[in-house]
Each structure stands twice: as structure tokens, then as C-alpha cells.
Symmetry: C2
Subunit: 379 residues, 2 copies
């Protein structure tokens, strides 16, 4: 069993799909591990460290992939880059299939079995494999760090000989994994934190972190599948917007984290709301990659509008790559452990396992995931 | 009595010497206040906000200075820019006279009475006027924010479903006002913090913030004047360096804050020490403006050496200008309150007051401060 780790191709993607820690454990599972030279560079992992953990360093991607039974990636690789892999090789990563159906079909055609880790079910057994949670947690942390760095004031209250400095007011929209970590980090730094979420259950978690929970009365609960929110009705949306509009004008830092799987990000903050904020305020839009929660967000950019800085980085977890890779690699390792027979030390995928069924996009030349099979089927 | 507030000329200096809050209080002292247009821009203060507080907005510096009895600045202005001020006008700011004796002489020649706020004695009555403390406090905070933003890992320990992430180790060198705030901020963010100082008394303060105090046995105490450290002997320096060398190799974040008034910054971190640190580590050198505590620091720049990021910003407080201006302006206001007769609402400088004697650089055409008068005297 050969496992290949590729260097990421996407510009600015500093994460890597395995670390020396997980390479050692993959070896213990019985795998030969090949790491493309320089794969860990962005996460400050040297080739020598991989080698010390037992990996062979391949000078280029082709050599790493050659004969591989499993290819580990952060981002979806181009189908062409997988040539030479074993027949039916598993390709495991954050494959981002929504809106990329053509690329998924190409992976099917290349004969690989592609697994989208972001479809891992949110069940207890799979928590350790949950890349969305591990990366969202870090994105929430990093959002506050980026906001603090861009903010022209101190976050904590400071009582000095020259008088008191009031603490910054931070508002977190969406109290999922990212939002809760953003709340915790902003609290750590001494900000006065409030948060909103359309899922009523989030209120208790927000308050347990010491933040104020803000929710419109018009909205009892909008919990959806898998811990995400459902889309709101027009009336609910209007009520929520009115509440946000009056609250946001008084905030110094706003962090938006609202995502609905497979849909564009909901628009939470309008241009008028941005313009109601004081100059010097900072907004971090964690949904920038899906179009943004903020009307003015430019994905991948930092802009200033009327003195308000809007940070639209599309890969916040990737901005603390060392920690992000560490957790991501552990997520992948935990999944691989379920795919290997511990006796024979060989690949033994149980295609009826709910984890496999939930994440498998392609198999035997076809797109097999129910959400995509139809789109890919010949008409 | 007319008080002028100038827009700062130094590139990147976003602070301003008065805020709408202090303008209101200067008015209450009986002053007319003229603010140069755009003076508050870098600190997010609009001309309209100054006007609302009672200031007249002057279209240019000349108009603001014309007939002024007091000119408030952050940085030392060029003598030429003070033409038109009242005879013997007070110029109050962070005048940075060391090494700038020619510029100080020029201020004397221009006939103004220049006050260097950084010479304010460290006595109880003058605490509220202590610009070094108010700005160092913010520099210490900002050092940790900058370090966190440059650091490619999370600072806090994180216990996640994918396992634990160890907290970052931060080491603060010099536990003065800046160092103590850096310790407090790094602790807030969840780092494991240690600190060193050559003044034995600092140990208790470091420990009261929950950080570990590290000091060589060879050094009992090196407290100097005014709460600063004295210079170390060669033996003491060697012992301190040996201790630091072994400690620093295990640190993720190092913040250096060692300054000796009127002297170049002591060299605490050698090239070899930097090279002993793991790639991905971050150093912030708060002494960059005085040449740096780190051998490799390039003042004003951020460099990467062997994977270690060295941040050499020369004006960290100026990187949170809104808060820095708020406190700086209050420091100046408090000093001015001692220079004005509350009954007559006119300037009434008591040249025998110890605050005045300590800070006055020039008067009646001469350099009068004992530390500079000799250098400026005709041979």
C-alpha cells in the first residue's frame, strides 16, 4: 500500500495533507509514504522531517503518485496530475465539488475514487475526521487575530494613568464552530462580544462563552440539517436584517461566519449597514469564498469603504498553516485508519460504511455521490 | 491664549496631539484652539469632530501656528514650521532630542520654548503626563498582536476532536511598561509566557501576571535611574546571554523591549540565537527605533531570516493610532493644565516647577536643558 502526499498547487495554499506525525502513523498502518519535495514548505515542515518520519521524498508529483493507492491532498487536484496512480486509487481531500461538477466528472473519468472530506457525517465516530470543524475553528481564531491587527485601537479595556480606554465591541454573526471560536478569542483579548445566530440552540453556547446573544423575536429557530441553518423566509430575513442594522452601527469589529452547504453565502450585511459603522471599524467575512456575507466583500481582498476595513480572505485557516495542517492531517489519518485492514495491512474499503458512502464522489469511472451523480449522468 | 494642533509630517505617523475630548478641555481652560486640517485623519478623527468640540480648522500649518502661544505635536517639528507663533511660544511633544542636538538648537534659535514630554519625571504627580508609559503600554499590546498575525500557528492550547494543539511559548525580554503589557496580552491569548529583566524587582510583577521569571544568578540587580535598567558589566552581560541563548532556542515568539535612555538599545539577541530558533518563529523588536535589541533587526522593516520573522517596526504605538492619540493627547492636556492660571485663564509657566525644569529644552533663544546645554554652548 503506497500513500502519496502532494504539494498543493493553488496559489497561497500553504497547508499540506500530512505531517511527520501522521506520516509515522501511516507507516505504522503498513503504508509506504511518498511525499512530493517541498510539500510541507508552507507549513514549515522540511523534507528532512518527513524523511525522518519514514517517508520517501519524491522529486516531483509524478514520482510521488506513481503506483499510489491513496493520494492525500488539501485541495482538489487536477485529474491529469493523478496519472500513474494505481487503478481505483483513493484521492482524499477537501474536494469542493459544488459548482465544480466538471472537475468531479474528470476525476471519475481518470478512474480514481475521490473522497470529499467535507461531506463527513457529523456523527460522534467521525468527529475526529471533521475537516470542516477543525479548519473552521482555526478560521474563527484567525479572524479575530486579523481583525485585531487591522484595528487601530486596543481591544481590551485599559485602565491607565492617563485614564481609561473603553473596550472594543465585537459582533459575531453565526455561532457555529468558527463563530464560537471567534467569540472565545475576542473575549480572550478583552472585547465586549455579542453574537447572533438563526439557530436558537446557539444562544446557550454563545452565553456560555460570556457573550451576549442577540436574536429577533420574529425568528423562533432556523436549525437545518447537520447543525447548519436552513435558509430563512423573506419575512424572517427582514426581521433579522432590521435587528442587525440597529446593532451593527454601534460595533467596532464584525465577524460574519454564515454558510449554507452547497449554496451561496447568505447576504447579512448590506452596504448601508457598512456605511452606518464608524470609520476605523473592521469587518472580517469568513464566507468570502462563497461570495461573502457582506455586500461589499471582495473575495481574496482587503478593502476600505468609508473608513471601514473589510477583510475578505478566502482561506483564513490557511493563514495559520502550521496548526491547520496539523489538524487537517490528523483528520485524514483518522479516516484512512477506517479504510485499512489492521491484520493484512492492506486497503480494505467497506463501501457500505456510512462514512465512505457519505464522502465518496467517484468510483469505477462514475460519479457516485447522490448529490452529483444525476448532474454527471449522461442525458 | 491660542493653542495650535499640527498635522504630523513624519511618514507613517498617524497619531495626533489632541482629540476632540482634549480640545474641549483646552477650550475650558480658556484657550482658542486651531487644528490644522486633516490633523486627525490618521487617528480617524474628522475635522468636523474637532470643530464640534470648539476648534477652528486652519487650512494649513501656517494659519494654525500664526500667533499661537502653545503648539502641540507628536514628533519634533522643524523650526521653520513654527514661524509666526507668538514670541516664546511653547512647543510640546515627543521631541526626541538625543542625537538631534542640531535640531534642538534650531528650535532655540527660533525663539520657542520646547518641552520634551519624554523627560517628564516618573513621580506620582506626573504619571498622568507620562507619554513614555502610555505609548509603551500600547506598543507592548501591539507587539503581541503583530506577532500573532505573523505567527503561522495558534497561540492558545486548543483541545479539539482531532487532538490537542500545544500553546505557543512566548518570551518577553524586559519587563517594563511595554514588556508587562506584552506579557499580559500574550497570556490573554493563551500563550505560555516567560520573561526576563535585569531589574530584580520586575520578577514579582512578571509572576503576578502568571508568567515565569527567568534571571541569571550572576546578576543580582541592575536597576538604574527612573525605573530603567543600568548598563550591564561585561561579565553580567555574558551570563545573561548564556541564559537567554539556551532559553530562546525553545521559544516560538520573542518580544524584546530593552531600552536605556539616551543610549543605543542593548544587543540582547544575536544572529546565532535567531538561528537556533525553529522556522516559523516570530521576533518583535520594540527597540528597533534605537537600533534594536536583535542583531538582525532592520529598523522599520519585517524580515525573515532562516524562517524566523523579525518585526522591526519603529513605531508600534503608532500602529494603533486611535488609542495612542487618545492617551497621548490626555498626557499633554494634563501638563498644559499645570501651565495655565485657572483664574486669569492665561499662560503662567512656573519655570521653577520640577516638571517644567525636567522637560524644558529651550528658552529665550538658548538650549537650557542640562543634558543638552553644554553641547549647544558656543565654544
Amino acid at each position: 500500500m503506497k500513500i502519496a502526499i502532494l504539494r498543493e498547487r493553488l496559489a497561497g495554499e500553504k497547508r499540506v495533507a500530512a505531517t511527520p506525525e501522521t506520516v509515522g502513523k501511516l507507516k505504522a498502518l503498513g503504508a509506504d509514504v511518498a511525499v512530493e519535495a517541498g510539500a510541507g514548505e508552507g507549513s514549515r515542515i522540511l523534507d528532512a522531517q518527513y524523511a525522518e518520519a519514514g517517508a520517501v521524498i519524491a522529486p516531483a508529483a509524478e514520482a510521488a503518485v506513481k503506483g499510489a493507492d491513496i493520494v492525500l491532498v488539501v485541495r482538489r487536484p487536477e485529474a491529469g496530475s493523478l496519472k500513474g496512480a494505481a487503478k481505483g486509487a483513493l484521492v482524499i481531500g477537501a474536494l469542493d465539488p459544488y459548482g465544480n461538477e466538471g472537475e468531479v466528472a474528470a476525476l471519475a473519468k481518470a478512474g480514481v475514487s475521490a473522497f470529499a472530506m467535507e461531506f463527513m457525517p457529523r456523527i460522534t465516530r467521525a468527529q475526529v475526521m471533521d475537516i470542516l470543524s477543525s479548519q473552521a475553528n482555526l478560521a474563527g481564531y484567525q479572524a479575530v487575530i486579523e481583525a485585531s491587527a487591522a484595528f487601530e485601537r486596543a481591544l481590551p479595556m485599559m485602565m491607565t494613568a492617563a485614564g481609561t480606554v473603553r473596550p472594543a465591541k465585537a459582533f459575531v454573526m453565526g455561532a457555529g464552530v468558527a463563530g464560537l471560536q471567534a467569540i472565545a478569542t475576542a473575549k480572550r483579548l478583552g472585547a465586549v462580544v455579542s453574537a447572533t445566530d438563526v439557530r436558537a440552540a446557539a444562544g446557550e453556547q454563545v452565553e456560555s462563552l460570556g457573550a451576549k446573544f442577540i436574536m429577533t423575536d420574529a425568528l423562533k429557530d432556523a436549525s437545518g440539517e447537520g447543525g447548519y441553518a436552513r435558509e430563512l423566509t423573506a419575512d424572517e430575513q427582514a426581521a433579522q436584517q432590521a435587528l442587525v442594522a440597529s446593532h451593527i452601527a454601534k460595533q467596532d469589529i464584525v465577524i460574519t461566519t454564515a454558510l449554507i452547504p452547497g449554496r451561496p453565502a447568505p447576504r447579512l450585511v448590506t452596504r448601508a449597514m457598512v456605511e452606518s459603522m464608524a470609520a476605523g471599524s473592521v469587518i472580517v467575512d469568513l464566507a468570502a469564498e462563497r461570495g461573502g456575507n457582506v455586500e461589499l466583500t471582495r473575495p481574496g481582498e482587503v478593502i476600505v469603504h468609508n473608513g471601514v476595513t473589510i477583510i475578505g480572505f478566502t482561506n483564513l485557516a490557511g493563514r495559520i498553516p502550521t496548526t491547520a495542517s496539523q489538524l487537517y492531517a490528523r483528520n485524514l489519518l483518522a479516516f484512512i485508519e477506517t479504510l485499512v485492514d489492521k491484520e493484512t495491512k492492506a486497503l480494505a474499503v467497506n463501501w457500505d460504511d456510512e462514512l465512505v458512502k457519505a464522502t465518496a464522489l467517484t468510483r469505477d469511472g462514475a460519479v457516485v455521490h447522490p448529490a452529483f451523480a444525476k448532474a454527471a449522468a449522461p442525458v
